[in-house]
């Protein structure tokens, strides 16, 4: 009964979405305030129905209702209850339902926080979101219904959630990632509404900025969490694999980052108008494209969901409608007249343009690498696999240039800056970065010029931000007064840039200075890696709720001082499948100690010697710490007061919107 209720709620949500997609926008063209005002309650209604459907599926999981096919495939009775709940989005159907929940949630958020928007704009934004919602409702109802029953012969026991997903990181990774993907639909809807209204001005950008920032912050967290999960759960200490699924999340992030910077130019200077609109369309398009690539089976990946050509065709058709029609609208309505205001070569505009070009280049490179095997195959050029070497070859140099530009551009002014001022501002960060870069590698066991370059880049970005804050507070009465004078968005920006620098440092240092040893160890053996002593005390059998495992016991010490016990596991889940490697990690700010248990050297004798992998990962945690700082920076920037109070002052301006509409 409950699953049917969920199914009916989805159908009701679909019907409301049809109303949401048509009524408010029709009202905006026919000047019917009541129709436009309907957008808000309709958005809340859609959200409520999706929430009901989501709750129904969750109940089915908690009650282990194996008459529901999706539950039977992704859960079983002995699964701990918290994993039963996360199993709701552990498979394809449920993750689409989660996506739908987020999509409806964002629409409801726009309805809630967008009260001060001019009614026409608000109506159109909500209608565009309604159209996107229709697509996802149809997708789930026609191809991926999580409420399908297995009646009349339900299985007695379910088959279990993929053990790789039975992990706390998995509880938050998909929701954060989807919050980001779907969040970009809001700025997309704003862009489409702006194109429809022909009102492409700085005001548009100001409204869109906070939404973009929130979505970007979520996506940053989602990607970082996914990478961290891969690091400790996949068991071999890598944190980025250039896997198609990872690339699918990186591409909207790159373009979303470009979009945030371009929106700043549009808001502050009224420039790059068409370009910003195009980026907004691109960002959401790439989010959708990622879903297509992952779920259609067009590209094979370790993460791949069960693939299905019917689903692939549907998503492709959906992509064609959403992206095709918005790009057509863009081609027809984007302003062709370039803005009158000019900027010199030495201006902030130039640097931000450089930022945009580089980010788009990097995205194009990632897209090419991801799609190349498909393209080569379609054109009969042979079968080609693209691996990490290709991506690193392009990604690393482009990132270096991007970071160099960042450190330079942050001191530039709008319109134009004086050479002497720019050079003066660059000198101190340059010298600091150079000094640190030359000295820091001395602290490690070997000197490495790649590390020098990497550290220089990281410190250069960091020092540039610190210098800028120092300069901006210099003329105030006191440092604190000076600090208070700056806006939240200013600090958000610097925090995010410092976060980028921290991530860069983490990547460089962990890549260059990590040590990895694969050893054969028997009980009582000791080994030293990077100054740490590992004593292997053998393997014992432990029992988990739905698995049993061999657990290695290692004493970690340094200079005779015991630091702790590491307990890596090799798990066999009762539901079958490959054994899972659970690494034991001792995390520190400056290094991680990562221990993974391999296989017993003799298969029949688990109490004998084992293959053990000991890793010393220098500064690896900085990679995710930096991402966290970036996300917090994004969040702080959004909290800027001017996004909230600005709208009140603009009500006069917005009153003119119907007039301009008539002219269009």
């Amino acid at each position: 009964m409950i699953p049917e209720l969920g199914h009916v709620a989805l159908i009701a949500g679909l019907l409301l979405s049809f109303a949401l997609a048509t009524l408010p926008i029709a009202g905006s063209y026919t000047a019917r305030p009541l129709w436009m005002a309907a957008g808000r309650p309709l958005a809340f209604g859609v959200f409520a129905f999706v929430l009901i459907a989501f709750a129904c599926l969750t109940i089915a999981f908690v009650q282990s209702d194996f008459t529901v096919d999706y539950v039977a495939q992704n859960s079983n009775r002995i699964l701990p209850v918290y994993y039963k709940i996360t199993a709701v989005w552990g498979g394809h159907e449920g993750s689409i339902l989660l996506w739908l929940l987020m999509q409806a949630g964002w629409a409801a958020a726009v309805a809630m926080f967008g009260r001060q928007l001019p009614p026409e704009l608000s109506a159109r934004v909500l209608s565009v979101l309604g159209m996107v919602l229709i697509g996802f409702f149809l997708f789930i109802l026609l191809t991926s219904n999580p409420f399908d029953r297995t009646l009349p012969f339900p299985p007695v026991e379910g088959s279990d959630l993929n053990p790789l997903l039975q992990d706390p990181g998995m509880i938050f990774h998909p929701p954060l990632l989807y919050m980001g993907y779907v969040g970009f639909s809001v700025v997309f809807a704003f862009a489409i509404a702006a194109l429809l209204g022909g009102h492409l001005d700085a005001v548009w950008a100001r409204w869109a900025r906070p939404w973009t920032g929130v979505a970007w912050a979520f996506l940053t967290l989602g990607i970082a969490l996914g990478s961290w999960w891969a690091y400790y759960e996949l068991g071999w200490g890598g944190w980025w694999f250039w896997d198609p699924v990872e690339n699918a999340s990186l591409m909207p992030w790159l373009v979303g980052t470009a979009l945030m910077h371009s929106l700043a130019v549009t808001e502050k200077r009224g420039l790059f108008k068409s370009w910003t609109i195009l980026l907004a369309i691109f960002t959401f398009s790439l989010s959708l494209l990622g879903t297509f690539l992952v779920r259609s089976g067009v590209i094979t990946s370790v993460h791949a969901f069960a693939t299905d050509p019917q689903r692939g065709s549907f998503i492709l058709a959906f992509l064609a409608v959403v992206i095709g029609s918005s790009l057509l609208l863009f081609a027809l309505r984007a302003p062709t007249v370039s803005a009158r205001s000019v900027f010199s070569f030495r201006s902030l505009e130039t640097f931000l343009l450089g930022n945009n070009i580089l980010l788009i280049l990097i995205m194009a490179m990632v897209l090419t690498g991801t799609l190349y095997p498909l393209l080569a195959d379609a054109l009969n050029w042979g079968k080609i696999s693209v691996g990490a070497p290709f991506f690193n070859l392009f990604f690393v140099p482009l990132m270096v240039v991007l970071c160099l530009l960042l450190g330079m551009g942050i001191h530039a002014n709008w319109k134009s800056s004086r050479w002497d001022k720019l050079l003066g501002a660059w000198r101190l960060p340059f010298l600091t970065a150079l000094a640190v870069a030359l000295l820091w590698p001395l602290a490690f066991d070997h000197y490495h010029w790649g590390a020098v370059l990497g550290i220089f880049i990281g410190i250069w970005v960091m020092a540039a931000s610190v210098t800028d804050i120092a300069v901006k507070t210099r003329n105030a009465k006191s440092f604190i007064v000076g600090l208070k004078r700056q806006r939240a968005s200013y600090y958000g920006m610097h925090l995010a840039h410092i976060g980028l620098a921290v991530t860069v440092l983490g990547v460089v240092l962990s890549t260059v200075y990590s040590v990895e040893k694969d050893l054969r160890m028997g009980a009582g053996d000791s080994y030293q890696v990077a100054g740490y002593d590992f004593k292997f005390d053998g393997v014992r059998l432990v029992q988990g709720p739905n698995y049993h495992a061999f657990e290695g016991i290692l004493q970690l010490s340094r200079d005779g001082e015991l630091l702790g016990e590491l307990l890596p596991q090799k798990r066999n889940y009762f539901s079958g499948g490959n054994p899972m490697t659970e690494a034991a990690i001792d995390t520190g700010l400056l290094r991680d100690i990562h221990v993974a248990l391999g296989e017993p050297m003799e298969r029949t004798n688990p109490s004998g010697d084992w293959a053990v992998r000991l890793q010393y990962k220098a500064y690896v945690v900085w990679i995710w710490l930096g991402a966290l700082l970036m996300a917090i920076g994004g969040g702080i920037a959004v909290a800027d007061k001017r996004y909230r109070k600005a709208t009140a002052a603009r009500s006069v301006e917005s009153a003119q919107v119907p007039g301009t509409l008539a002219a269009v």
């Binding site: 094979t300 095709g324 081609a331 027809l332 799609l371 498909l374 195959d377 696999s385 079958g576 298969r603």
Partner: protein, 194 residues
Amino acid sequence: MSRLKLFLPLFIFIALALLFWRGLFLEPQEMPSALLNKPVPAFSLPKVADNHQIVRKEDLPREPHLLNVWATWCIACRVEHPYLNALAERGVPIVGVNLKDDEKAALAWLEKFHNPYRFSLADREGRLSLDLGVFGAPETFLVDAGGTIRCKHVGIVDDKVWQTKLQPLYEKLTTQRWEEFADDLSDSLLSRCQ
């Protein structure tokens, strides 16, 4: 003129969409292998670990075996590897095709993760893999005693794939000739083998 320029993103997208449309029907998971029921193409490649020893098609095991395409740059192969170890332990002969890989990395991998292969061919330029119609790694072929490809699997071989797809054929092939039982095989099994 400047309006035309704005159509550029749309055109690029249409081109991409056509590619995806084509991609949907390529179905890498079940791309029909032109080589099904055809002999393994002739090759002459060095062994991983021993550059001087050249292996030819005639050196493949004279019994039903698996031909597994792997590489150290392939993440999925790492996931698959423990299962191959288990299969080898059970006595299933496996020959590796090490695709476009670095010799040292490949050796280190085999040492690190255990070597389930009778031997691995160093297919550095990917010629053999190309002839086999390999889409990516990992990919596994079931080859009979006479050197003819009887089944193909794209992606990771795990317990489920082995039990439902490869094992039924493998076990029959160990006792009977293909022609003796091929007609009795279910269509669903055969169609999955392509």
